[in-house]
């Protein structure tokens, strides 16, 4: 039975298998594929949720819904690889190591922030534990299928990730203490490193204990009672990190603490997929490129904390040019709908090309999440995740009009406006005086 389950699991994760995809034909739009150039006037046919054909004058198969997007621009659905939406809760602060908690347990499919996100063209998110602890919890990647159940939103092919955090949030440096209250350990950057090292040592010992038990179990004539070690969910997760079954996503700000964490990863042999925020990344672009560790950053939000005081807007462009894999994130349920505006700034601040700028919010985060085989660009065989804009997506005057996930429309501005008009007619709210609704 177990073998069959494993086989099915492998089948699901290795193909572009989709829970239930839709059929759709978009006609006459300008297609920005991100990886294969721009098609000035083209069609995209999606069947069973996958992009089946890209080209000009595609005839729709019978029964397939056709949407005319003349004059509009189509990009791959935007991917926000660092957010906290769609969750009932962000941090477990009762302990400094909470690897046992899993975002999977607190999914909230009715979070209206999901709607905010799709109104801005976002189709996939990586939603995380917060940055209150040096070792946080297990994160999850979702497709924003607004209106569907939480389980249907899970993106199973994404890498399982574990949140780590360094710096001021973890040491609670900006928190006022009540009289008599003592700071939680670790309260300094040196404590943070020591703490993570200690927890990972515990995980190593835990693994050794289980190995020893499994060895002893094999001995038939052992004349002593044998009790298995206590299964500790927290250490199981850290052990999985050491075994390579999970990758680390680490929130860091300063260049120095980032380098220390990289050293830890070598000490214990685990993989870091991405550093989060890291405004000082430009100072260690060389190291990041050499280690092949990506970064997921803000475009220009800075100076809100001391450790963010040396963040510069040219950083994403500069790091890209130095060979670092850069993605832009929002970490905000408001900014999530303006990621395309942020991407455009990388052209102004640093001189990235249009495709490079678009990749910051599409292909690059997909690579960082391990799902670039399925999403992140408009190519035949990938998921039909698209965002349609009325002006060029990198223009300040643009607006997202349609958001499509696996061939189904989840956000349609026109339909939304109609619905709102109907709702306002029926609403007990006082009617507005003047101007349109």
């Amino acid at each position: 039975m177990k073998r069959i389950l494993i086989f099915i699991f492998l089948l699901i994760t290795s193909t572009g298998f989709i829970y239930a995809g839709g059929n759709l034909l978009l006609k006459n739009g300008t297609i920005l594929t991100v990886t294969r150039g721009v098609i000035p006037r083209g069609d995209i046919l999606i069947m069973d949720g996958l992009i089946k054909q890209i080209g000009e004058n595609i005839t729709p198969p019978p029964g397939v819904k056709v949407i005319d997007v003349s004059g509009k621009y189509i990009i791959p659905g935007i991917i926000d690889s660092h957010t906290h939406i769609a969750l009932a809760g962000t941090n477990e602060t009762g302990s400094a190591n909470t690897a046992e908690v899993n975002m999977r347990d607190v999914l909230d499919a009715e979070d209206t922030s999901i709607f905010t996100a799709i109104s801005g063209g976002v189709t996939t998110i990586h939603t995380l534990h917060g940055s209150a602890n040096p070792i946080g919890g297990q994160n999850i990647t979702l497709k924003l299928k607004w209106g569907k159940k939480a389980e249907e939103m899970i993106f199973p092919q994404a890498w399982p990730t574990l949140k780590f955090a360094l710096g001021e949030n973890v040491t609670q440096a900006n928190r006022q203490l009540s009289p008599g209250e003592e700071r939680r350990y670790p309260a300094s950057r040196m404590g943070v490193v020591a703490f993570i090292r200690r927890e990972l040592e515990r995980a190593r010992n835990y693994l050794a204990e289980w190995d020893r038990y499994n060895e002893l179990k094999k001995i038939k004539l052992l004349n002593r009672p044998l009790l298995p070690p206590r299964k500790d969910l927290q250490l199981e997760v850290l052990a999985d990190l050491l075994r390579g079954k999970l990758v680390a996503r680490c929130h860091s700000y300063r260049a120095d603490e980032t380098l220390e964490f990289i050293k830890l990863s070598h000490e214990f042999g685990f993989r870091i997929a991405c550093f989060e925020h890291i405004p000082e990344a430009y100072k260690i672009a060389r190291e990041l490129a050499a280690e092949k560790i990506g970064i997921s950053v803000f475009m220009d939000s800075w100076a809100y904390k001391v450790e963010a005081a040396e963040g510069i807007a040219t950083m994403p462009a500069f790091c890209t040019q130095q060979g670092v894999l850069v993605s832009l994130n929002s970490d905000s349920n408001e900014r999530i709908r303006r990621l395309f505006n942020d991407a455009a700034k990388a052209i102004k601040y640093g001189g990235l090309s249009e495709d490079e700028a678009l990749k910051l919010i599409t292909l690059n985060p997909a690579i960082q999440l391990g799902v670039d085989k399925y999403v992140g660009s408009i190519e035949v065989g990938k998921h039909g995740d698209l965002a349609v804009f009325n002006e060029h997506p990198l223009s300040a005057y643009t607006r997202c009009d349609l958001t499509i996930i696996e061939g189904e429309v989840y956000f349609d501005r026109e339909a939304y406006l109609k619905e709102r008009q109907e709702a306002q007619k029926a609403s007990p709210r006082p009617k507005a005086t003047g101007g349109d609704q």
Binding site: Y282, R286, A303, A309, Q322, E334, A396, Y397, T433, D436
Partner: protein, 426 residues
Amino acid sequence: MRIQKIWPLFLILSLSILSGLARAEEIVAITNVRIVPVVGNDIEKGTIIIRGEKIENIGPDIVIPQGAKIINGQGLTAYPGLIDGYSQLGLSEIGSVQATIDFRETGRINPQVLATEALRPDSMHIPVTRSNGITAALVAPSGGLISGRSGLIQLYGWTPSEMVIKAPVAMHVELPAARAGFRRQANQPSEGSRLLDEVRELLDQARWYEKRKIAASKNKLIPFPEFDEKLEALIPVIHGELPLMISVHSASDIRSAIKFVQEQKVRAIFYGVSQGWMVAREIAQAGIPVIFASLHQLPPSWEDGYDALYRNPGVLRQAGVKIAFSSSSASLAKELPYHAAKAAAFGLDKREALKAVTIYPAEIFGVDQLMGSLEKDKLANIVLAEGDILELRTVIRHVFIRGQEIDLSSIYTEYLEKYKKRVEKK
């Protein structure tokens, strides 16, 4: 000294100090440049002559004076320097470090404080902001019910007096905002009218106070009232010399505020106005200009619609309200043009969007004879951009403030240069 008589003096004083900044009567000619003066028609290819601090001449065919420094504007567009309708520039460095925050005084009633008296010319946010084409900004206090008075500064100067263009500009009153975000319902009963009652009470006290002072000055038998700095500060408001900038958000609060302003006969500007689209005609009829807070916020309730704050400016402008945009920030003050563009994406006419960051704020603050458009005799606050100044991708090539070309370096460029060196020496 009576405070209400001071501000024109301030204006004259600062102008004379500032003129010391510009080198004596240097002449600059920007040639071959596309000109968007904002007032009047665009000029596809023209010349701008700057003499000293002012625009001496501007037009398609102009004779370039002898000895002019030529700047070739080929491929560039000239715009008036942008004006931020509300910011904390120079009053805030790092958000979480209290020692760097100077726009919020303790207590609820502080009309006596003046934001420009806390201005830090060396703020790292100022070079970042002006290198994106913003040349002037309102710097305002916040917090409490009456936060204090704001002033208008130019984003260039070594000392506060070199930077202040006009102070005070307005007296700030803050009514609470409904809690943002869809989760919380905007059902909380509005505190607005109750708070306005408090303000009414204070204005009445100021009226009494002034009457008493006048009576005392005429009649030696009547003693002067005890000096009250707060009531002194409110006197220009009751005379209509200093406008009230009222931070107001919900539709019902806006209505209460309109009634309040009309009955008190004070000048007013509204700030924020998140539900203005619901009462646009009333605001227009009252003739009150509106400065929007940062558009990068969530609307107060789901029923308003996800795009409520984005389409708000378009609706108000169409109803005839004079509008301006603001960044409501220090570290993100460079975002000003993109708030305007966002509103244009959701219905505001593009030209009006540009006016709302140039001539309209100048008019609202009463400095439109000096700035807000590229016209003869106005100050040479000019931005040369490689395209539409409201566009995200546009690179700014030159910025002039009072005819002085500004160095566009900032912490962004300095740190980049420093660390470029690290990767260059391989």
